[in-house]
C-alpha cells in the first residue's frame, strides 16, 4: 500500500483548477478534457464537467445535501482532532499541516460523520473530504469511521460511506496503518449484526482506505471516472515496467472486473441511494 501518491502533478488525478491566464476566475479549465468551463455552469451541474462528464470532488456539505433529508444530518465528533503522536519533523511539521488544513477547510479532519435520514429512512452517513490533506487516513478518520459503524450497529441502521482518499497519513506512522484494522473490525461487527453497508466511491479512492472499510460494502457504487485502487499507477508502472491498460483503475474498469455494483452519475445518486435503502432497510 505504502508508496501511494506523490501528490504534486499526479497525472491521473483530474480536477478543475483556476488558470492564471484566464481572467477573473470565472472560467476554469477542466483538467480531464482541457476544455474551458464557466464556473456557474460547473456549480449548477453538481461540479460535474458539462463537457466531459468528469465528476470533480464536492465538499462534504454538498454531499450531505445531496444524500440526506434537509436538516436531518446530525454530525458527531465534530471537534475530534489529530494530535502529533510521533512528533513528526521533516520538511514540514505535522502540527502546522493540520492547522493549515483546518483553517482552509473549516473542519477538524478529513471525514464528517453522523446520523441522517433520506426519504425518512434513518441511516449512518460518513463523508470523506478530499480537500483535507488528501483525505488521508489518520487516527481521527479511523476513530470517526469506527464510531459511525458503532452508531449504525447500536441503532440497527444501514451504514453509508462516501469515500475518497489519497492514502495513509504518513505523519502518524503505524497509528495510521492500524486504522485499517480498526475500521474493518468495526464494519465487520456491523456486518455480523446482519446490517447493510453501502459504499459510494468518489474520485479518488486509494491506498489504505481501499484496503479496508471502502472495499467491504455489501453494495459498492462509484461515481463515473473515479480513480479507484490500492497502489498508485506510477508505483505499478515502476515496479512492473508494464504498460497500463486503457482506463486502468477507473470505476468503469473495476466494474468490468467485478468489483463495483453500479456506476452512478451524481445527479442520480440521491434517487439510487433512496431506492437501495428501501430494499435494504
Amino acid at each position: 500500500m505504502a508508496p501511494l501518491f506523490k501528490k504534486p502533478k499526479y497525472s491521473t488525478i483530474k480536477g478543475v483548477t483556476t488558470k492564471k491566464e484566464i481572467p477573473e476566475g470565472l472560467w476554469l479549465k477542466c483538467e480531464s478534457c482541457n476544455e474551458v468551463v464557466h464556473k456557474d455552469d460547473l456549480e449548477s451541474n453538481l461540479n460535474v464537467c458539462p463537457k466531459c462528464d468528469f465528476h470533480n470532488p464536492i465538499t462534504w456539505q454538498e454531499r450531505v445535501e445531496l444524500l440526506t433529508d434537509s436538516g436531518s444530518f446530525k454530525p458527531q465528533d465534530v471537534d475530534m482532532s489529530s494530535v502529533d503522536p510521533l512528533k513528526f519533523t521533516g520538511t514540514a511539521s505535522y502540527k502546522d499541516k493540520i492547522a493549515e488544513n483546518q483553517t482552509k477547510s473549516g473542519i477538524r479532519d478529513a471525514v464528517v460523520c453522523g446520523a441522517a435520514t433520506l426519504d425518512e429512512r434513518p441511516f449512518a452517513l460518513g463523508v470523506m473530504e478530499f480537500r483535507f490533506l488528501g483525505a488521508s487516513m489518520g487516527s481521527v478518520v479511523g476513530e470517526k469511521v469506527t464510531r459511525l459503524a458503532e452508531l449504525a450497529t447500536d441503532r440497527r441502521v444501514p451504514l453509508v460511506l462516501v469515500t475518497a482518499s489519497g492514502g495513509a497519513r504518513m505523519y502518524e506512522g503505524l497509528y495510521s496503518l492500524m486504522q485499517m484494522a480498526k475500521t474493518s473490525g468495526a464494519v465487520g461487527r456491523h456486518h455480523g449484526a446482519g446490517l447493510p453497508y453501502i459504499v459510494i466511491m468518489s474520485h479518488p479512492t486509494t491506498g489504505g482506505v481501499t484496503a479496508s472499510f471502502a472495499s467491504l460494502g455489501d453494495i459498492i457504487m462509484a461515481e463515473p471516472g473515479a480513480l479507484i485502487g490500492f497502489a498508485g499507477p506510477r508505483v505499478i508502472k515502476q515496479t512492473t515496467q508494464a504498460t497500463l491498460p486503457e482506463g486502468f483503475q477507473t470505476a468503469e474498469f473495476l466494474k468490468s472486473k467485478g468489483f463495483i455494483d453500479r456506476i452512478v452519475a451524481r445527479k442520480n445518486l440521491r434517487q439510487e441511494l433512496s431506492l437501495l435503502l428501501g430494499y435494504l432497510s
Binding site: 505504502a2 521533516g90 495513509a168 502518524e172 473490525g185 489504505g208 512492473t240 468489483f259
Partner: protein, 319 residues
C-alpha cells in the same frame, strides 16, 4: 565468523575480523605465538560490536531487516516446527508462493503457521515476488486461518514483506478487497493469533495477515505504514532522506513498544538474526510457546473480544 554480506556500518568490525584472519595465518605460517595479538584484536572487536550493534539507528535496523542473509519464514519453520504439512492455493485462482503455510507442531503444540516468504536465489525470488503477496495470497492465508479456526488450532503468522505486490493483476483481482476482507475476518477467529514481524513489516501488505492477539517484532525488524524511501520521496521530495524518514516514522521495535503499538520484542543474536539462524529460531520458538501459554483456558469469546479491543484502542486523538 561467516560474514558474506557486510553492511556499510559493519565495516569497522569486518576489518578487525580480517586482521584476525591475517594474524592467524601469519602465526601458522611462521610458527610463532600470536595469542597476545589475537586477544587484543578480539577485545577491539568486542568494543566495536558493542559500539555498532548497541547503537543501531532506525535506518541501520531497516538494513538488517532486509539483509539478504536474514532468515526467512521457511528457515524458521525448518528449525522450530516438526511435522510441517504445507497447504497450498486459494481455491479460486492460484497458489501465491509469497505466502507459505500449513499445519505444524511447535514443541508440544499443534498450530497453523503462515508466513511471507522472500526468495533465496533470483529464481526463487521471482517466483515469490520477493514476499510481496498477490490477492490470491491473502485469500490463501485466510483459507488457512479459517481452517485453523475449524480445527481449533492457534495461528502463528510471520510477517516479512515490503508490501503487497503492486501490479496490474493485483489491482484487477482487487488486492484492496483481499486485504480488507482479511482484516475483517481475522477479528472473527476463535483461536489465538500470534503475529511476529520477522523482517520487514511493510504497510497494508503486512497488516493483511497481521491482526493478532499479540503482535511481536524481532529486534531488528521494522513495521511501518510506508517504506523510509517512499516517505522520503513524498515528504522530503528526496529519496536520499531515507535515514531521516526512518527516524521520523518511529518504525523500530523499541519505538513501537514505547508507543504501545506492539506487545513485545524478540531479542536477536548480536549483529542480527543473519549471524545465527539457530539462535534466532530458538528465540522465536521460546516466544511463541510463552505467548501461547497465556491463552490457555481462554474461551473463543474472550479471544475475539481481546483481539478486537486491542485494535479498537489504537489511535491518538484530541476531543
Amino acid at each position: 565468523m561467516s560474514r558474506r554480506h557486510v553492511l556499510d556500518f559493519e565495516r569497522p568490525i569486518y576489518e578487525l575480523e580480517q586482521k584476525v584472519d591475517e594474524l592467524e595465518r601469519f602465526g601458522r605460517l611462521n610458527d610463532v605465538d600470536v595469542d597476545e595479538g589475537l586477544e587484543r584484536l578480539q577485545e577491539q572487536i568486542d568494543v566495536a560490536k558493542k559500539e555498532v550493534y548497541q547503537n543501531l539507528s532506525p535506518w541501520q535496523r531497516v538494513q538488517l531487516a532486509r539483509h539478504i542473509e536474514r532468515p526467512y519464514t521457511l528457515d524458521y519453520i525448518e528449525r522450530i516446527c516438526t511435522d510441517f504439512l504445507e497447504l497450498n492455493g486459494d481455491r479460486h485462482f492460484s497458489n501465491d508462493e509469497a505466502l507459505v503455510g500449513g499445519f505444524a507442531r511447535i514443541g508440544d503444540r499443534r498450530v497453523m503457521i503462515i508466513g511471507q516468504q522472500k526468495g533465496r536465489n533470483p529464481e526463487d525470488r521471482q517466483r515469490r515476488h520477493h514476499g510481496s503477496m498477490l490477492p490470491e495470497g491473502y485469500r490463501k492465508a485466510l483459507r488457512l486461518m479459517k481452517l485453523a479456526d475449524k480445527a481449533r488450532l492457534p495461528i502463528i503468522s510471520l510477517i516479512d514483506t515490503q508490501g503487497a505486490f503492486p501490479g496490474i493483476d493485483s489491482e484487477e483481482r482487487h488486492i484492496g478487497e483481499a486485504i480488507a476482507v482479511n482484516l475483517r475476518e481475522m477479528f472473527t477467529l476463535n483461536v489465538p493469533v500470534i503475529v511476529i514481524v520477522i523482517g520487514e513489516g511493510g504497510s497494508g501488505g503486512a497488516l493483511g495477515i497481521g491482526v493478532g492477539n499479540r503482535v511481536l517484532l524481532m529486534e531488528n525488524s521494522y513495521y511501518s505504514v510506508i517504506t523510509p524511501e517512499g516517505c522520503a520521496a513524498i515528504l522530503w521530495k528526496d529519496a536520499n532522506a531515507k535515514e531521516q524518514a526512518a527516524e521520523a516514522l518511529k518504525l523500530t521495535g523499541h519505538d513501537l513498544l514505547e508507543l504501545e503499538l506492539i506487545d513485545g520484542i524478540i531479542h536477536e543474536p548480536e549483529g542480527g538474526a543473519n549471524q545465527d539462524y539457530d539462535a534466532a529460531a530458538t528465540a522465536i520458538k521460546t516466544a511463541i510457546l510463552e505467548q501461547l501459554q497465556q491463552f490457555d483456558g481462554k474461551s473463543a469469546d474472550e479471544l475475539r473480544a481481546e483481539r478486537y479491543e486491542k485494535f479498537r484502542r489504537l489511535g491518538t486523538i484530541a476531543e
